[in-house]
């Protein structure tokens, strides 16, 4: 038998691919842009962290692909991959010092080279990069060789430290608003990033918790499961109550700026819930969804603003009209596209979205909806003596909207209508052959989706106090679609999670806004590869098991069973 030989080709390939990604990060300017924020003050910046994480990931992948389980071989593979990664970046450094790359790659600035070379010049920097590659590669290999629990603990702890560093502003504001928690603030953060002792203690805390939780967690959940049903019920009730309290108190906890972010997340989540009916349940790809958002916002504006001088309804008086206008628009769009499927439908709806935006801009409609100047002086919502002005108040308005939309979607999904939508999504012809009226079913989906978008638009208009045509471009449609895909098609919690991830996160990282769409693209590709069903996939219902007893109680003889000859 031939002795197995060390397969060096695989790790080299993986290392080169990883290195290419690292060079890409550097040349598109992410490393430099991210280095303005320190994860741990004075030790590692976000830019360096990006490189380190990609390097570790590369080494880990190489370790995982090793054909033989010997430890040395695994370490060798990850070392080789890390070395290749470091080598690629070092090569960039050397080439950059010889040739002016800036003519093509405008981000290949001296600052970038300095960052990559750890401020030590080209030669020393290149050597340092190689050494870094070797070290990180070996570390990744070791991580792979660790037992599951240790690995989980380490990865979790690192993840938490990185997240705490990336979201430092959010945390600082949150802790700062609460007197007693200010102590944590001082311990954890310096002015620029996590403090060294703060980062270390966070690391130890998370690692320790994860490690012990993996031991005791299953025991604990087992014990909970063995509680009597009454006890479980109370426990669940307490959980729900706690969740409700947190959701209600969120704006007070988070403060003004973060509440603003929350309201934006809410506006998109509300739209997402609507589009989820059209795309997720009924399977009709609508790329012009922003049109309904715009129609809701403009109806609210045109009916309430004293500036135009037609109507001066209050927010609540205008709201039903806005929703009805959305529904009508949904039906009007729906009728001509009834016979279209897939790509064709997508193109036509894309056009519809643009038509609405251009109409809003047009001089023709200017007297009614203000043309390019838009509509200003849209009043806020008033309930009793409370006027919803600040984001902290508007949050509740949007929360109610989202809850309403979520509740309706949830109830519809598991109904005759919801099943009809899903049947149309799966196979339109067969759905018709099951007695489903395609015209009514599709129009209801369009109308329902449009109603939620219009509601969202109306709240959005009142929140801003003005509407402008340029707020309603095609990117909004794309954003909403992305958040459904990332969250999980057809899943209601998925929409919320998707909105938080794709709308909330970018709002928190505004200084890196230019990489927003790069991150979107990467997130979508990654999702398709790793979790095609989304972050929070729709759970398949377990009706049969729940009610298995009733079946056994009244057994119907299966055909061919002894009962029937």
């Amino acid at each position: 038998m031939e002795k197995p030989r060390f397969d060096w080709l695989q790790p080299v390939k993986i290392g080169l691919v990883g290195g290419a990604i690292g060079v890409f990060f550097a040349l598109v300017g992410m490393v430099e842009a991210f280095s303005i924020r320190d994860i741990v003050d004075g030790i590692v910046s976000m830019g360096q962290m990006l490189m380190l994480i990609s390097m570790t990931f590369t080494g880990y992948m190489a370790a995982r692909r090793t054909t033989q389980p010997q430890h040395l071989w695994v370490l060798g593979s990850s070392l080789l991959a890390g070395l290749m990664f470091g080598g690629m970046v070092a090569l960039l450094l050397i080439v950059g010092s010889l040739v002016n790359l800036r003519a093509v790659f405008i981000n290949a600035s001296p600052t970038l080279y300095e960052l990559l070379a750890f401020g030590r010049g080209t030669q020393a920097g290149a050597l340092l990069l190689l050494a870094e590659g070797v070290l990180v590669g070996v570390a990744a290999g070791l991580l792979y060789l660790l037992t599951g629990r240790f690995r989980q603990a380490l990865v979790n702890a690192l993840g938490w430290v990185v997240m705490a560093g990336v979201l430092q502003e959010l945390l600082r504001i949150t802790f700062g608003a609460w007197g007693p928690l200010a102590v944590i603030n001082q311990w954890l953060f310096t002015g620029k990033g996590l403090s060294v002792p703060g980062a270390a203690s966070l690391f130890v805390l998370v690692a320790g918790t994860t490690y012990f939780w993996s031991q005791t967690g299953s025991v604990l959940s087992n014990r909970l499961r063995r509680l009597p049903p009454g006890g479980q019920h109370t426990l669940r009730l307490v959980g729900i109550l706690l969740l409700v309290l947190i959701v209600l108190a969120l704006p007070q906890i988070l403060g003004l700026y973060l509440s603003e972010v929350l309201t934006i997340v809410g506006v998109f989540a509300l739209m997402g819930l609507g589009l989820n009916i059209v795309v997720g349940l009924a399977g009709m790809l609508d790329l012009g969804y922003v049109a309904f958002f715009a129609i809701g916002a403009y109806t609210m504006g045109a009916l309430t603003s004293p500036e135009l001088g037609f109507f001066s309804l209050s927010f609540w008086e205008a709201l039903p009209f806005a929703v009805v206008a959305g529904v009508l628009a949904g039906v009007i769009l729906g009728i001509p596209v009834l016979k279209m499927r897939g790509d064709y439908l997508a193109i036509v709806t894309l056009g519809f979205g643009e038509i609405v935006r251009i109409l809003a801009l047009s001089d023709f409609l200017r007297p009614w909806i203000g043309g390019a100047q838009g509509i200003a002086k849209i009043p806020k919502a008033i309930v009793g003596s409370i006027e919803f002005i600040s984001p902290q108040q508007i949050y509740y308005l949007i929360l109610v909207g989202c809850l309403l939309a979520g509740f309706i979607s949830w109830r519809l999904k598991d109904s005759r209508l919801g099943r009809a939508w899903m049947a149309v999504r799966e196979d339109e012809d067969v759905a018709a052959a099951m007695g489903i009226n395609l015209v009514a079913t599709k129009l209801l989906a369009f109308a329902g989706g449009a109603a939620f978008a219009a509601l969202s638009g109306a709240i959005f208009a009142s929140k801003l106090g003005s509407v402008y045509p340029h707020s309603f471009n095609v990117m909004i449609s794309i954003n909403v679609l992305c958040l459904i895909i990332v969250g999980g098609m057809g899943s209601i919690t998925g929409v919320i999670v998707g909105a938080a991830a794709l709308v909330g996160l970018p709002e928190l990282l505004r200084e890196f806004a230019e990489y927003r769409f790069l991150a979107y693209g990467a997130a979508l590709v990654l999702m398709m590869l790793v979790r095609p069903a989304g972050l929070m996939p729709e759970a398949t219902r377990r009706r049969e098991l729940q009610e298995a007893e009733t079946v056994e109680a009244e057994p119907e003889p299966a055909f061919g069973a002894p009962a029937s000859p």
């Binding site: 899903m422 007695g435 395609l438 098991l545 061919g560």
Partner: protein, 272 residues
Amino acid sequence: MAILTARGVTKRFGGLTAVSKFDFESEENSIYSIIGPNGAGKTTFFNCVTGFYRFEEGDILFDGHSIVGLTPDRIVHMGIARTYQNIRLFANLTAIENILVGQHTHLKSGLVGAVLRLPSTVREEAAALAEARRLLNFVKLAGKGDFLAKNLPYGDQRRLEIARALATRPKLLLLDEPTAGMNPHETEEMMALVRHLRDELGITILLIEHDMRVVMGISERVTVLDYGEKIAEGTPAEIQANPKVIEAYLGRGSATEVVSQASAVQASPALA
């Protein structure tokens, strides 16, 4: 009494006449088969009956009412259901949801009922679920209701498709090659199921089938199509001895030879 009557049905695709002046009559509470070589127009005729295709000429009466111009959902309403040659379940719905969709025409609850979960809706849903479970049990899929349709084995999918068709409470059931791809044992079971549907539930069955054992074994009358035209009609025994049929299947020249052997092959799957 004839439950389904076709008079001079003609369906053309451009220059190709897929079904030509087809006359057909199916007795209530019978099992009839339509056979013919590939491309003979059998499935096209099914598509005409279920409203998938509009045919150019002729008329189809179901229970005395013309179905010309009706959409598929109206036709289901009248009591015609079908299965498909290549299984067309709702792949990403569970087995039980597939059957629930089949009951669509018999449920009434709308938007408001579903959102407010009115008592009438709750009752209706519970009854629908019980009915779905009963049908699942009936086609021997009890306990598999929570499986996604696409994850069921092939034979189960075929039976689920029949259960879904039954959920529409049809008077006439069109089965398009129900035993395709099945082993002899599964085929036996399917034949017994088809007989049972007719005998116990009183559903009229119209079959497209290639497996001659099935055709000859369970159908009362057989209609043979070739190039869109009816070339023969009669009892299984008559069809088996008909030289025109043998010619259509095996080509000119083989007819005489085969006829002489026909009595010997009576119970074998010779023509498949």
